[in-house]
C-alpha cells in the first residue's frame, strides 16, 4: 500500500494537470465550487469597479473611459435592437450583463495569471469553464424568454407551441429543453477545451508554441460571449414577436 501511494505520489508530482478536482466549500449544507466563486467574484469586482470609475463625472464630450463604455453600451444596444426589435429597451441590461460577464470571465481566464495563486485542491481559471456556471446562465436565459413571452402575451403565449401546425408540438416542446442545453454546453465546451489545450501545450512546450493557441482562445471566447448574448436576445425576441 505504501509503495503504491509512493508511486502515486511520484505520478502526481510529474503530472500537474488536475482535471475534475475542484476546491469545495461547505456552505449551509451545500457543497459549492469555491474556485468558481472566487473567480466569479473577481470578474464581478472588475466589471463593477470599472463601471463605477468610468461613470464618475460624465461629460458631454466623453473622456476616454467614458467613451469606451458608451461604445460598449451602443454595441449591446445594437445587438438587442437587431434581435428583439422595437421593445428592446427593458432587455438591454439583461443582455448586457450576459455579454459582459461571459466576455470578461472568458478573457480573464485566458489573460490573467491565475496559476500563480495556489489552492489546496483544484486551480483557479475562468468561471465559465464549470458546467454549473454555464447551466446557470442558460437557465436564466430560459426564464427570461419565458417571462418575456408570458408578460407580453399572457396565456396566449402557449399558442406558439402549435404554430405553424399542431404536428410540430413535440418538437416545440423539445425546443424548450434543447435551448438551454445547447447554450450551456456550447459555452462550457469551448472555454474548457481551450483551457485544456493551452495547459497541455504549456506542459509539453512551455515557451512559444502555446501562443497562437492562446490567441485563438481569446478570439473564440470573445465570439462565444457574443453568440451567447445574441442567442439570448434572439430567443427573447422570438417569444415576444408574432402578436400581430
Amino acid at each position: 500500500m505504501n509503495g503504491i501511494s509512493n508511486a502515486l505520489n511520484g505520478l502526481y508530482d510529474i503530472s500537474g494537470v488536475e482535471v475534475g478536482q475542484h476546491f469545495y466549500w461547505q456552505i449551509a449544507g451545500f457543497q459549492v465550487h469555491a474556485q468558481v466563486l472566487i473567480t466569479s467574484w473577481v470578474v464581478i469586482a472588475i466589471l463593477l469597479g470599472s463601471a463605477v470609475i468610468a461613470v464618475r463625472n460624465p461629460q458631454t464630450i466623453p473622456t476616454a473611459g467614458q467613451n469606451f463604455f458608451e461604445y460598449v453600451l451602443e454595441f449591446i444596444r445594437d445587438v438587442s435592437k437587431t434581435q428583439i426589435g422595437e421593445e428592446y429597451g427593458p432587455w438591454v441590461p439583461f443582455i448586457g450583463t450576459m455579454f459582459l460577464f461571459i466576455f470578461v470571465s472568458n478573457w480573464s481566464g485566458a489573460l490573467l495569471p491565475w496559476k500563480i495563486i495556489q489552492l489546496p485542491h483544484g486551480e483557479l481559471a475562468a468561471p465559465t469553464n464549470d458546467i454549473n456556471t454555464t447551466v446557470a446562465l442558460a437557465l436564466l436565459t430560459s426564464v427570461a424568454y419565458f417571462y418575456a413571452g408570458l408578460s407580453k402575451k399572457g396565456l396566449g403565449y402557449f399558442s406558439k407551441y402549435i404554430q405553424p401546425t399542431p404536428i410540430l408540438l413535440p418538437i416545440n416542446i423539445l425546443e424548450d429543453f434543447t435551448k438551454p442545453l445547447s447554450l450551456s454546453f456550447r459555452l462550457f465546451g469551448n472555454i474548457l477545451a481551450d483551457e485544456l489545450v493551452v495547459v497541455v501545450l504549456v506542459s509539453l512546450v512551455p515557451l512559444v508554441v502555446p501562443i497562437p493557441v492562446m490567441f485563438l482562445g481569446l478570439f473564440t471566447s470573445g465570439i462565444e460571449a457574443l453568440i451567447f448574448a445574441t442567442l439570448a436576445a434572439a430567443y427573447i425576441g422570438e417569444s415576444m414577436e408574432g402578436h400581430h
Binding site: 501511494s5 502515486l8 505520489n9 502526481y12 508530482d13 500537474g16 488536475e18 478536482q21 469545495y24 457543497q31 458631454t60 464630450i61 466623453p62 476616454a64 467613451n67 469606451f68 458608451e70 461604445y71 485566458a110 489573460l111 495569471p113 496559476k115 500563480i116 495563486i117 495556489q118 489552492l119 489546496p120 485542491h121 493551452v198 504549456v202 506542459s203 512551455p206 515557451l207 512559444v208 502555446p210 501562443i211 492562446m214 490567441f215 481569446l218
Partner: protein
C-alpha cells in the same frame, strides 16, 4: 461526491497542494506566454480601439457642432424675422395713421373744392340773372323809348301843318327882333 473526495485524499498526499500559496514554477504558471500575448494584444488592440473611440468622439463633436451651428443659424433667422416683423408692424401702424390723416385731408380737400365750385356756379347764376335783368330792363327801356318817340312822331305828324309853321316862323322873327333890340 464527498466519499470520492475522501478516498482521493486518503490515497496520497499531494506535495504541491494542500494549502494556499504562491506557485513559483515559471514554466507551469506561464507568465512569459501570458506577457507576450498581453503585449501583442495591447499593442494592436490599442491602435484599433483608439481609432474606434476617436472616430466616435469625432462624430459626437461634429454632431454637437452641427447642432450648435444650426441652432445659432436658427436663432439668427428668428431674430431677423422678428426685426422685420417689428419694422413691418411699425410701417403698418404708420400707414394706418397716415392713411387716416390722408383720408381726412382728402375729404377736406374734396369738400373745399366742391364748395368753391358751388360758389363759382352761384356767381355765374347771379351774374346771369343780373344780366338778364339788365337786358330785360334795357329792352323795356327801348320799347318805352320807341313808344315815346313814336307817340311824339305821331303827335308831330298830326300837328305839323302850314299854320303852325307860319306861327313858329313869326314867333322866331319876333324873338330875333327882341334879341336884336337887346344887343343894340
Amino acid at each position: 461526491m464527498k466519499n470520492v473526495t475522501d478516498s482521493f485524499v486518503s490515497l496520497g498526499h499531494w506535495p504541491s497542494a494542500g494549502s494556499f500559496g504562491v506557485n513559483t514554477d515559471i514554466l507551469a504558471t506561464n507568465p512569459i506566454n501570458l506577457s507576450v500575448v498581453l503585449g501583442v494584444l495591447i499593442f494592436f488592440g490599442k491602435g484599433v480601439l483608439s481609432d474606434l473611440l476617436d472616430n466616435r468622439k469625432e462624430r459626437i463633436l461634429n454632431t454637437i457642432r452641427n447642432s450648435e451651428e444650426l441652432r445659432g443659424g436658427a436663432i439668427e433667422r428668428l431674430e431677423k424675422a422678428r426685426a422685420r416683423l417689428r419694422k413691418v408692424e411699425m410701417e403698418a401702424d404708420q400707414f394706418r395713421v397716415n392713411g387716416y390723416s390722408e383720408i381726412e385731408r382728402e375729404k377736406l380737400n374734396l369738400i373745399n373744392s366742391t364748395y368753391k365750385i358751388l360758389e363759382q356756379l352761384e356767381n355765374y347764376k347771379n351774374e346771369t340773372i343780373y344780366f338778364e335783368q339788365q337786358r330785360a330792363i334795357n329792352q323795356v327801356r327801348q320799347r318805352v323809348f320807341q313808344q315815346a318817340l313814336q307817340g311824339a312822331l305821331g303827335t308831330l305828324n298830326s300837328s305839323l301843318n302850314n299854320e303852325l309853321h307860319l306861327r313858329t316862323i313869326s314867333a322866331n322873327i319876333g324873338l330875333f327882333g327882341v334879341m336884336k333890340e337887346i344887343t343894340d
